[in-house]
Symmetry: D4
Subunit: 161 residues, 8 copies
């Protein structure tokens, strides 16, 4: 994409991409530039620090962080950047993402993460929320987003079949 | 406050104010203008529609919606506004806010709500996240927010007592 | 069917029909007229308002609403109609319908939704409960319902095999 | 009250009255006649059978059944009456009514119970739903119910304090 | 079997037999006579009353009751018999038997049900517990049960493979 | 008491007595002899082994074991005695006895524990179930138990107050 | 392996090996000697006592115990050895290992078990934690462990694909 | 204390000390030197990095980390030190420490944290497990620990009162 990369999509492992690529594809549909990187809070803590502390200077405006289990990536990123951080709880094998959800949403007062739904829906919605945030200062994007939502509404059939 | 009201804080009932006033106070500390209103999705659905559809035109940039139990206010607001919506699950008597959390965070793909923690921490963090969003386009606020966070960091004692 | 459409079956998405068609089939067996429509609280909020506010005038007597995840359809419908609303929590991928259940059953005082079981059993039972409500004022239906239940009882084998 | 007793409020024990009297008071406000009885599925099974089988002949139109823990009263009543049965999960000490909720809402296909919220809100809403059911064939009640809801809407303050 | 039928295995539906046949087979291995019947608390309440009230006179000593969802069979049986009742929570689709477990184990003071594990393990153990109860007064059975347990112990391999 | 001690009540700690004394009192009302001992599976494992292996020879017929948290006492006792073991999950501070319940009820196939409700109700019911087991071979006890239950039934008031 | 067996891996049944072999393989990669045995707390309580009481004299330094359901093996082992005990909750069919987790982690004050994650991740991490413990007094192992972790870090790709 | 500080007790906030001081006191009883510091993963991320990376060089052998809610401190510490890390889930207001537990125990494969029970029991046991680890190479401590456990066993009364 040639659009400036305003959204950073980070995820804890390669396996999270199966969920997080939905965020990427949604941003693409909306014409929002992004980068997608693997940043493991636990296996690559130095990369995490470097990424989080450098995200603003790198030109990102919003960060989408997806992780599963004891999902520390969104919260730890939020601890080291002034940018808005959106978290996506990735579904897990044993606890279905309930562990991911609690690890992301239950942040203590002082360091916020905006948490979306578990799994694919959350990844798509993180992209939509990032776009809504960016659209506050980008009328063209606001229009594209409004069109996208209008199309979504129009696509809902009247009757089930 | 004389600052323009950029954040709308809405809540499902008077009793939610006990939680949501923490959002209001946090915004005040950061010099972010806001309004606080009771909008019950269930008892005042017309007010909900009017509020949500009119929020952008009213000059709001971010909406913070708090509710408890079958907490439909954040999601329904998000369904009718292009603005970013942040949800605060209010703690409930029987299920401790687990019901509020699920009702807010588990939004289907297409209509996002950024969910914060259950209760007071979530209310404070909703305000901080709203401020971080607004600060993307407001350097003075960005500075105030950075100062607030630096002060928060400095206030953490070295040793417990 | 030529019977007057006394029951409105609404659901949040096409995918809910897999569950909700059991309600439709049960009503057919009982000779109760119904309509089945997709009304997404989040993607088609205007359709929701129009449906809910117009349901009584349209001649419906009972509304069956099925939805999954942050399932706001039953409660929001109940907020805008005087008709009895029955809710069916549709099973979800990550949380198995626990999120749907809480979003439907935990309505605040003032706006009731009668919630049935998660999934197919709930859809069938919503139809049966709707029929029981209609049968209060329809002796022929009461007889058909009694026959249906007698047949159900008779169909329970004595010994497992 | 002189109104005919159209609603039977039954509960599993004396201690449930603390919750269920909210149903009674709500019916009184709406001018709906009711009786309130203790029917323990476990300690008075004969009374249960007699009550449930005789409820229709006794002139009741709707049954509201509240119980806690392994709450079998609503479901067992529904098994022995053609009348619509509404269940109220009473909050419990250890599991906060989660056990009551599952025991009431997860009825198998074939015998429906319309379940309301855990505790006081559920008791009030059971009464409101019962009234909505009765109002289908009672215009005066429909008017009273509409007035009650309008008053409820009007009573929601604009701003929290 | 020619042994006297001392244990009654009852279950809520044909589908529960997939779980409950493990109880039957375990009793057979231990030489304990049993009957297996479908008794639906909800679909055949009269059969339930007749069974439970007549169980002692029919010569049963212990009752094993398995059911799923809002599992009322064990508790309602216990309400109408002086015999010891053992409950088996059958695994369910949406809630994995958590609903069955709560509906069986959380009986109020006054009417006991001895609850075993969810699913197959619970069915086997219900048979073993029934046998242990019967063995209090049947030395031959006590010996068979001791042999069974010794064999079970001996069958545990030293090393995994 | 002069009655032979047929029931052993064991518990994991002194603090469990607050719950388990309800079992003792219930047995006393029914004229069933018992002993009450503290046997901590974790802090006194030797006492556990000695108790469990010697329980049958000591003349006990039924064991009631109460414990909280990672409640291993009932299951470990059952592993070392042929006697029927009934488990009482003691309510805990953080998880309300949900941990105790799972640790007791989810025994693997081969070693059964009959689990009662969390807390006081479970303690009372463990005593009642023990009595029902003993009553299979003790007609006088059967009569006392029947009287107790009849009195319980008679004590249920008709109307709440 | 020729390395001294410093770690004992025990598990409750053959089926747990599917999970626990990951602990064994991880220790092998790190050059840590181990033994793997089946020790069922419930089916082979004597083996449990003998193992736990003899583990220190047998030369073990750390014990890894994996079990599912009412998982008593880790806690009971800890009750009878001064060695550090690490517990692995094995995933279960109905409750997904939530029961195993509670049974292992919620040990009362006085007898500790260090609990790892449910399933495969927990088994691998138990081995890594055992190695970290042993490495406190084994510089060569410390180096191997550091290398292993460095390799793990290096293996995290920059971008998902 | 004059003993070398071998155990670092870190906690996320001042309020966690109410729980974590139990770890400190237990170490004192066992004559194990420790330091106690507040290290907030979210509010003081730089302090976290400095502490975790420097812990081994500072002479610590074991780290005990306590935190509540989205409890990232134990896992993030483990990501940056080769030392064994033990985690204590601090009880929380809304979710009772269930969130803390999941955030600590569900670490992904590769970076282990040994998790203890929620709250006070976990804090005490973390100290005991740390002592057991240190005792592997400290016979005097091993003796003190054995004495402590023997005293604990001896302190268990025979009969409840």
């Amino acid at each position: 994409m040639s659009a400036p990369k305003l959204v950073a999509i980070v995820m804890g492992s390669q396996s999270d991409w199966k969920t997080m690529h939905h965020a990427a594809e949604t941003l693409e549909k909306l014409g929002v530039g992004y980068s997608a990187e693997i940043v493991s809070a636990h296996r690559t803590p130095d990369r995490l620090v470097k990424f989080a502390k450098g995200a603003e200077a790198a030109g990102f405006k919003v960060i989408i962080a997806g992780a599963g289990g004891a999902a520390h990536l969104p919260g730890m990123t939020a601890a080291m950047t002034p940018l808005p951080v959106l978290g996506v709880p990735v579904e897990t094998k044993a606890l279905s993402g309930q562990d991911s959800l609690y690890s992301i949403v239950q942040m203590p007062a002082g360091v916020p993460v905006g948490c979306l739904a578990i799994g694919e829906a959350g990844a798509i919605n993180a992209a939509l929320l990032a776009a809504a945030i960016l659209a506050l200062d980008d009328k063209a994007l606001a229009t594209r987003l409004a069109d996208w939502r209008a199309a979504q509404t129009a696509a809902v059939a009247r009757h089930p079949e």
